[in-house]
Symmetry: C3
Subunit: 427 residues, 3 copies
């Protein structure tokens, strides 16, 4: 039954070893693997230096190897074992250093002594190594050999984009990021769940809306993408989700758009309330991912976030403990289901109007259940309530919220009432 969860976890495993950053070959390799699932994924490169609003595309960073050899000749830190060992965007180095000198370039976490922290320095050139506090405590005085074989030079920023055309040019937008090295919940869960959602969408023979799905480096990637596509997106996007931290098994959570009143907020809250009523509700003040750009003043796209354990809120975040054990098939599957349900709701949401005055006569149309059970009485009540609020002003989602039932319980009833010409969609 959870084959889908296992498949997603397997893809996370494939992507895990790749050393991603905001630019470089790690991003390209990642997109290449995702393209196996999404053949129509288009890959774009934006050259270093290109102006994107207030920003410029940074230099491209690539790394081949890195290590530290201790005074006794042991390779005690090795990039080949974990790409977290090197501070992201480290410049090349190849020299001997005393322990004191080395210490100035080491990063560890006194409170989490077994974890390697994840550190980057995108906008200031430096080099450094990340190690566990436990290992750091055992370092002995002496001469160390430090080596980083990286380069930081003009190149480009890489991202992937998949447009799935629908009947309407109105768009649903999904954004996820591919810029962290070996981290699982706060990296791979996002692109992997998004890939599987995209596969499902691509296979649909009938899409009401067009889907714009992007795989970008966080921060600069969303800024760069907006600088190229904002105007068209402002006209077309009716709802969007930033897909991140969606693979562990602990909580469900939701972070609203800036004003909290968009369709993607309404649908996320509706789905969470009915499927996972114990979800954690954050505010926009808790934001920290690409909604910072999508919801910024003047951009104002309707983007909210549906997550499992949110970035910054779980102890393994941004450490080597955020690994393939933290995310699970059922965790990924749960995130996938919630996002899929949101998309279903958006696809089926419409403003409804009763075509007759007063209550219609349902009996003569055979619209009452023939057997009266507790279940069938509930169905009749839902049908009558749906009819009572189909006034050409409430959307199906509004009505579902108003009458306190999941929207998906009403879709079948809507179809039957439409088939009898009792309900009509209005625009």
């Amino acid at each position: 039954m959870d084959d889908l969860g296992k498949e997603m976890h397997r893809l996370c495993g494939e992507l895990f070893p790749i050393c991603r950053s905001i630019t470089g070959n790690g991003v390209r390799k990642t997109l290449c693997l995702l393209k196996d699932h999404l053949p129509e994924l288009k890959i774009y490169e934006i050259p270093t230096g290109e102006v994107c609003f207030d920003w410029n595309i940074p230099k491209e960073w690539n790394i081949r190897d890195a290590y530290v050899i201790d005074p006794e000749g042991n390779k005690i830190i090795d990039f080949q074992n974990s790409n977290l060992h090197v501070v992201g965007y480290s410049i090349p180095v190849n020299k001997t250093a005393t322990l004191e000198e080395l210490q100035e370039h080491l990063y560890s976490l006194p409170d989490q002594p077994t974890a390697i922290p994840y550190i980057t320095s995108y906008y200031e050139e430096r080099w450094g190594f990340c190690i566990s506090e436990k290992q750091r405590r055992h370092l002995k005085p002496g001469k160390y050999h430090v080596y980083i074989d990286s380069d930081l030079s003009n190149g480009s920023l890489t991202y992937g984009e998949l447009i799935l055309q629908g009947h309407s040019e109105k768009e649903v937008f999904l954004s996820t990021y591919i810029c962290h090295p070996s981290l699982a919940n706060n990296e791979l869960s996002g692109p992997v769940v998004t890939t599987f959602i995209a596969e499902w969408l691509a296979a649909l023979k009938d899409r009401r809306f067009t889907y714009r799905i992007i795989f970008i480096p966080e921060g600069i990637g969303s800024i760069a993408y907006l600088s190229r596509h904002m105007e068209i997106m402002k006209q077309r996007v009716i709802a969007g989700f930033n897909v991140t931290c969606i693979g562990d098994d602990r909580s469900y959570s939701y972070l609203p758009s800036r004003n909290g009143n968009t369709l993607s907020d309404q649908v996320a809250l509706h789905v969470m309330k009915h499927l996972h009523p114990d979800y954690v509700a954050y505010t926009y003040l808790d934001r920290g991912s690409d909604e910072r750009q999508y919801c910024s003043p003047g951009v104002d796209l309707p983007v909210s976030s549906i997550m499992r354990s949110k970035y910054g809120e779980y102890p393994e975040y941004h450490t080597s403990l955020d690994d393939l054990h933290l995310i699970t098939p059922s965790g990924l599957r749960g995130g996938y289901e919630v996002l899929l349900r949101c998309i279903h709701c958006i696809e089926q949401n419409e403003t409804l109007k009763l075509t007759v005055l007063c209550e219609p006569q349902l009996g003569k149309r055979g619209l009452y259940p023939t057997l009266s059970t507790k279940e069938s009485r509930k169905q009749v009540m839902d049908m009558m309530n749906l009819i009572a609020y189909s006034d050409g002003k409430h959307s199906l989602l509004d009505i579902a919220d108003k009458i306190g039932v999941p929207m998906w319980n009403l879709c079948h009833v809507v179809d039957r009432l439409k088939a009898h010409n009792l309900l009509a969609a209005v625009e």
Copy 2:
């Protein structure tokens, strides 16, 4: 003191034995008795088959007699004892049946073994008898003679309408139903309280608003009435009440209009809050009477319900236990008082504007009480608060809600301030 309550209860007693249904002579007899109180009541007939929105007027049903004779020759079920014994709209039958055959046509309530249930089958032709579970358990095997002398044929649906002209053509609408046989709270309390309210209104020499008061069969009656009068009602009706279940002594309750924001909602809530703060507040999802039609999309009349124990919410509902003992003189009187108070509030509600800038000098006009008591200080405070909010935007009811006093405590003050030309009504 409670002569009025007793008179209302006496009229309920007169109406109780009549076998009403949604059509037929029971309705005519009922209206005939009410016309003794309301000579200007007009009685209308709508022929079987006439189209009313999505519905057609059904065949007319009349019944003269019905009984069941047991194998020993005893008349064990007799329509003459209780008209609840026959399923409403039963087709005629006159035959011998085994107990097994008979059982398929019997209705009883296992949970309320002494009660005869009230059952109808308006839209599917069948016959049946209703008996107490207790009696049913004693039925012995053998041949029974079943007899129903009814007919179901083309005829008409009957309703009564009383229009009491006021200074304004704007209308207050009262609707009550007359379609249940011997049931007291969920039938007779409504038309009887409405009749006494109508008598009081008819005797008024000065009515600000016009009153449209109708006595109809529930459901099809309100649909039929709307199909003939909806357009004019949408232009004129400013507030309306569905009068039902208003005769027992237990609770007071309120059910809002669809959007809950009409004048009839505001006034009902105001009256309930001040007179019966322990009233039960239902939502529109709890609806179940003619507000289903009056508040339906596109009809949207401002109709709420003021009740005592609401239909469906008390154990005797739709059984022989909803009889003349369940309703009481004080119960009916309490319902009458609440409805009357609502009408008073509507009649006296207007938007007020202070005619001077700053607070007026009340002393020089003798508008301060000459004796300072706790009571008089409260009166001055109410007067000053009334003045403070008479800004041409708040109605008197808005002001009463805002300053937390019953609207009727302010009417005398309004009159005095108007007499001194300090307040004026605005339109």
Copy 3:
């Protein structure tokens, strides 16, 4: 450190002995002393009889001396000891009276036996003396000599006005009253704190807004002032405060404008919430000072009240116990600080708009703190939140409310972001 509080208390001491009323030389002497602090204060006289909306300027009242001599020749009540002893607006009297006759002209407080009450009779001509209940109980039968050397005749009502021109003709309005005799919290705290605020404002070299500051008799004074200036004030005043009861040490309190939604409400609530979260929130139904006129229908100025212990709500109110011991240097200073903070907020409030799309790159401008501490992280978060809501629709005060920080913590950040052309004020 509390020199300012002491100076304010000293000025209260100077003003305390003066016998003020709604007209007369007491008001003139008071304004004369305030003019020492505010040389630009203009003093106006409105003649008796002038029509002010629904009112007329009353006769002017002046008193020189008053006493009661008991049967044994002792001067037992002496205006020279306390000006509270004489009922305000008492007409002259000079006669012998029995104790019984005298009793009809005496006022005392049975519940506060040591306090002399403060009583006036502006609109009905009478004479009377106020004494402590304790003293009254010892009065012996016999002949008393009562003497009041007052006159009540045509003259004028006196008030002071200070206009401090700002860059904008939009105005901030401060109103305080000078019409009570020797009372401290419910009189002198208001004009004294207002005077010190005005001194501070006058010394500012840069005022964004114009300040309209008035010292008036309560009630008739505000009505008279509005009758002359209402139209211009309605065009110009963006926020105003009625300054009263602002000198004791017990509580802080706030009373809203009529609709509670003006800038002066928002700023008062913001300041109270952050500086004195235990403040007492009154409603407009608790009003009792000149907001009764400023917020009356058709006048509708944006005036709220910031107070310490509110009139009518503390036991010493309107008695001789409301003296120079009740108000304190720290009490006056606290009130001054709150009012000053409100003015600061108004001066610095503006609607802000981010000049770039997406988040700006703060690093390249050196806008991130170089040292990462808990404090600096909070500063960055505040800066990012400020940026996130600078959408051209929210004022700085709105943003401060939204992100839950005092507005004054954001002003420095606003200045820095403006200096880098990242934020701009919009109109």
